[in-house]
C-alpha cells in the first residue's frame, strides 16, 4: 500500500506543471458553449496538442505520450490546479477514442485520432433519442444498407456540443427484426454537416446551446465509419458507457481544484460558521474521490477490469459536484446569483451530472444488482 509516486512520475508531473505554467491563458476563456468560446477552446486544444499534452494517455503514434493511468491522474491534477480551461474535445477524447483504441481499425485510428487530439475535429455524442434515454436499447433511429455504406434516418437528442461540433457518433438500428431490443444495432460515426443532417440547438438551463437535437434524413455514411462491424453496436457502446462512468470522464484533479477554491473562498469570507461542515465535506469528498480513483487505477494496473464499480464512481462525483456548487452559492449568498459568476455557471453545469451518462437511478440499480446481489425488481 503506497501513495507515493516514482521519481520518473514526479518528473513527468514537474514537466507538465512547467508547461502549463507557461501556457495556460492568463484570463479564463469565454464559455465553450458559445460560438466565440468554442473557437477559443479549439485553439487551446491545438496548443495542447502541438506539445502532446491534449491526450497524454494515448499512444504516441496518435498524438499522445503513451503514459499510463497514474501519469494521466497526475497530469489532470496539475491541469486543473493550474486553472486551465475546460476541454471542448472531451466527448471525443473520453468516449469515442477509447472505443476506437479497442474496437476500431488501424485505418480509423490513424484517420480520426490525431485531428481529434489537435482539436481540428470536435466530436459530439449522439446516443439519446426522444424515446430512448437511459433505456438506450429502445432506440429507433435506423441505418439502412446502401452501396458502399449506410443511410441514417431518425432523430437524436440531448447531443452535447452538437451545436458547434464537426462530427458525431452513435448507435443505429440496422437489423430491425431482431428478437431483443439491444440486438441488431450498429455503431456509426457521421458528419454533422453532411447533406440530410439538421442540427437544432437546445438551450440548456443557462440558455446556452450546449446540446442539440439532430435530425437525420437518409444521411450517407461510408462503411469505413462503422465501428466494430455491423450489428455489434450494443456491446461496443457498453464498453464506452463503462468508460464514461469510469475513470476518465471526471478526473479527481478537477474536484481537488474546485474544493481548494471553495476552501479558499470560505477562509476569505470569514470562515462562515453556517457552511463550515459542508465546506469540509467538499474538501473531504475531493480527497475521497482522488483516493478511490487511485485504488481503482491500482486494480486496473493489476490487470482487473473496471466493472460495476464505475457506477459507484458516477453517482459519487455527480452528486458531489452539485453539493460543492450549492455550498459555494450558499456561502456567497446574493453575490452568487449573477449567472455569469464562475460558481453559478458551474452550478448550472453540475445539475446535469446526475441525469446524463445513465441516470443515477439506473446506476443505483446496477449497484444493487451487480455489487450487492439484490434481486432484480420492476424498474
Amino acid at each position: 500500500m503506497d501513495l507515493t509516486h516514482s521519481p520518473a512520475d514526479e518528473a513527468f508531473r514537474a514537466e507538465a506543471r512547467t508547461w502549463l505554467g507557461a501556457h495556460v491563458p492568463a484570463r479564463p476563456l469565454p464559455s465553450l458553449e458559445t460560438a466565440e468560446g468554442f473557437a477559443a477552446h479549439r485553439a487551446w486544444e491545438a496548443e495542447l496538442g502541438a506539445d502532446r499534452w491534449s491526450v497524454v494517455s494515448w499512444p504516441a503514434a496518435y498524438g499522445g505520450r503513451d503514459c499510463g493511468l497514474v501519469r494521466w491522474l497526475l497530469f489532470e491534477e496539475e491541469y486543473y490546479a493550474a486553472g486551465a480551461p475546460g476541454r471542448v474535445g472531451q466527448n471525443g477524447v473520453s468516449l469515442l477514442a477509447p472505443t476506437l483504441l479497442v474496437h476500431g481499425t488501424e485505418e480509423q485510428r490513424v484517420r480520426i485520432l490525431p485531428p481529434m487530439a489537435r482539436g481540428e475535429v470536435v466530436w459530439a455524442q449522439a446516443w439519446s433519442e426522444p424515446e430512448a434515454g437511459s433505456d438506450l436499447a429502445s432506440l429507433r433511429s435506423r441505418a439502412v444498407r446502401t452501396d458502399g455504406g449506410w443511410l441514417l434516418s431518425g432523430q437524436k437528442t440531448w447531443s452535447s456540443r452538437a451545436a458547434f461540433a464537426d462530427r458525431a457518433f452513435g448507435l443505429f438500428r440496422s437489423e430491425p427484426d431482431m428478437p431483443k431490443p439491444h440486438q441488431g444495432l450498429t455503431y456509426l460515426m457521421f458528419d454533422l454537416r453532411a447533406p440530410g443532417v439538421t442540427v437544432r440547438p437546445i438551450g440548456r438551463l443557462d440558455g446556452k446551446p450546449a446540446f442539440a437535437e439532430i435530425f437525420l434524413d437518409e444521411v450517407f455514411v461510408p462503411d469505413e465509419d462503422v465501428i466494430g462491424g455491423p450489428g455489434r453496436g450494443w456491446r461496443i457502446a457498453m464498453s464506452t458507457a463503462g468508460d464514461e462512468r469510469g475513470l476518465t470522464l471526471r478526473s479527481p484533479g478537477r474536484f481537488l481544484a474546485s474544493a481548494d477554491r471553495l476552501a479558499a473562498l470560505w477562509h476569505g469570507r470569514g470562515r462562515d460558521p453556517f457552511t463550515r461542515d459542508r465546506v469540509a465535506d467538499a474538501v473531504i469528498g475531493a480527497r475521497a474521490y482522488q483516493l478511490f480513483t487511485y485504488a481503482a487505477a491500482s486494480r486496473f494496473l493489476d490487470g482487473e477490469a473496471l466493472g460495476p464499480e464505475s457506477s459507484l464512481n458516477k453517482v459519487f462525483w455527480s452528486e458531489y459536484d452539485v453539493a460543492l456548487h450549492e455550498t459555494a452559492l450558499d456561502l456567497l449568498g446574493a453575490d452568487g446569483e449573477p449567472a455569469d459568476g464562475d460558481w453559478a455557471e458551474g452550478y448550472l453545469f453540475s445539475l446535469a451530472g446526475p441525469i446524463y451518462a445513465g441516470t443515477n437511478e439506473i446506476q443505483r440499480d446496477i449497484i444493487a444488482e451487480r455489487l450487492l446481489g439484490l434481486p432484480r425488481g420492476r424498474r
Binding site: 500500500m1 443505483r364 444493487a368 439484490l374
Partner: protein, 351 residues
C-alpha cells in the same frame, strides 16, 4: 504508487475474520455489556496472539513496530464483528507510553494482551471507556486549553498518571452507554505519576490521532457488517409475494450505503499511510457518517425486528452511534479538516 492492500495484509484480515466468526462475538458483546468481561478477555488474548495490539507497540518493547495500515486492517475486522472493549483506547495507551521507564514496564503487557488499558485524554470527551473491565487507566491532565491542541504551549504542567485495576470505581459510578456494550465513568484523579512536561502533551495529541484512526476503522467495519446483514435480510424477507430487496426504494437505499462505505475506505487507508491529522479527521468523520447512515438504513429495512435488543443487529446499530461521538465528533473532525483547529497545524491543500 500501488494504493491497495498487499497479499499479506489481505490474509491478515481474512485470518482475523475467521477467528472472530468462530468466536461468537454477539454472545461476547452481550456478556461484556452485562458486566462479565471473562469471555471478552479471552477473546482479547486471542486477538493479541494474532498480533493485533503488537501493531501499536515498538519492536523494542515486544511489539511489531507501529504499523497504522495493518492496525486499520485489523480494526475494520474488529468493527465488523462488534468486538467490545477499550480497543482504540488500548492503542492510544500504547502510543502514550513513550518514556523508557513506563514503556518498558507496560508495553510488553499491552502487546501480549495481558493488559487492557483505557485512557482519558484532553479532547477525548468526558468519560473513560470500560475502566471497570480494564487493568489500568491512563490519564493526561494539566495540559491547559492550548494543550488540547497539541501545540505544546502551556503544556509544561502536563502530567501522565496511571491507576491500576485495584482502584476500579464502584459499579454505582459506571454508566451504560447508549451502546449496551460500552461502560462509561468519569476519569479518576490522582494515581501514580509516570511522566510530566511538554512531551506528555505532545504524546497525548499523538495518541488522540491513533485513537481516531482506529475508531474510524472500527466504524467502517461496523458499517460493512450492517450492510451485509441487511442485504442478506432483504433477500430472504418477502412481502407482497416478492423479496423486499426487489423494491427499488429498498435497493436504492442500500446502494447509497454501499457508495458511502466504499468512499470512506480509501480515506481510511490514505490516513493510515500519512498519519496526517487532517487526513485522519476526514477518515473519522466520513467512516462514522457512512456507518451511521447505514445503521439507519439497516434499522428501517429490518423493520420491527431490527428495533429489538434480542436481535443481534442492535449490537452494530448502537455501536455506530457511539463511535460517531468517540474521539472527536463530526463537528470537531470537520474543523480539523479545514485547519481551523490547532491539531491540524493550519490550512492545507487537499492534494
Amino acid at each position: 504508487m500501488r494504493f491497495l492492500l498487499d497479499a499479506e495484509q489481505t490474509a491478515f484480515a481474512r485470518s482475523l475474520d475467521a477467528l472472530l466468526t468462530a468466536a461468537d462475538t454477539p454472545a461476547v458483546v452481550r456478556s461484556w455489556g452485562a458486566g462479565d468481561p471473562a469471555a471478552g478477555r479471552a477473546l482479547w488474548s486471542r486477538l493479541a496472539d494474532a498480533g493485533v495490539f503488537a501493531l501499536a507497540v515498538p519492536e523494542a518493547y515486544e511489539g511489531l513496530g507501529r504499523r497504522p495500515v495493518e492496525l486499520a486492517v485489523a480494526f475494520v475486522e474488529l468493527g465488523r464483528h462488534a468486538v467490545p472493549g477499550p480497543l482504540a483506547e488500548t492503542v492510544a495507551a500504547a502510543v502514550l507510553l513513550t518514556g523508557p521507564g513506563p514503556a518498558k514496564r507496560f508495553l510488553p503487557g499491552l502487546a501480549a494482551g495481558r493488559t487492557i488499558a483505557t485512557v482519558a485524554l484532553p479532547g477525548g470527551g468526558p468519560y473513560v471507556l470500560d475502566t471497570d473491565a480494564s487493568d489500568m487507566e491512563l490519564t493526561v491532565t494539566g495540559t491547559g486549553s492550548a494543550a488540547e491542541t497539541g501545540t505544546g504551549t502551556g503544556s509544561a504542567g502536563a502530567e501522565l498518571r496511571v491507576t491500576q485495576a485495584s482502584g476500579s470505581p464502584p459499579a454505582s459510578r459506571v454508566r451504560r452507554s447508549l451502546d449496551a456494550a460500552r461502560r462509561l465513568s468519569l476519569p479518576r484523579a490522582g494515581g501514580e505519576l509516570l511522566d510530566a512536561g511538554p512531551q506528555v502533551a505532545a504524546g497525548a495529541a499523538e495518541a488522540l490521532r491513533w485513537a481516531r484512526l482506529t475508531t474510524a476503522a472500527q466504524a467502517l467495519g461496523v458499517g460493512l457488517a450492517l450492510l451485509d446483514r441487511t442485504v442478506a435480510y432483504v433477500k430472504r424477507r418477502s412481502q407482497f409475494g416478492v423479496p423486499v430487496g426487489s423494491f427499488q426504494a429498498v435497493r436504492h437505499r442500500l446502494a447509497d450505503a454501499k457508495i458511502a462505505l466504499e468512499f470512506a475506505r480509501p480515506l481510511l487507508f490514505g490516513a493510515a499511510l500519512s498519519m496526517d491529522p487532517a487526513d485522519i479527521a476526514a477518515a473519522k468523520v466520513t467512516a462514522c457518517e457512512a456507518a451511521y447512515a447505514t445503521a439507519r438504513t439497516a434499522l428501517q429495512l429490518h423493520g420491527a425486528i431490527g428495533y429489538t435488543a434480542e436481535y443481534d443487529l442492535s449490537l452494530w446499530l448502537t455501536r455506530a452511534r457511539a463511535l460517531r461521538s468517540a474521539w472527536g465528533g463530526p463537528g470537531e473532525c470537520r474543523a480539523a479538516v479545514l485547519g481551523t483547529d490547532a491539531l491540524s497545524g493550519g490550512a492545507r491543500r487537499c492534494s
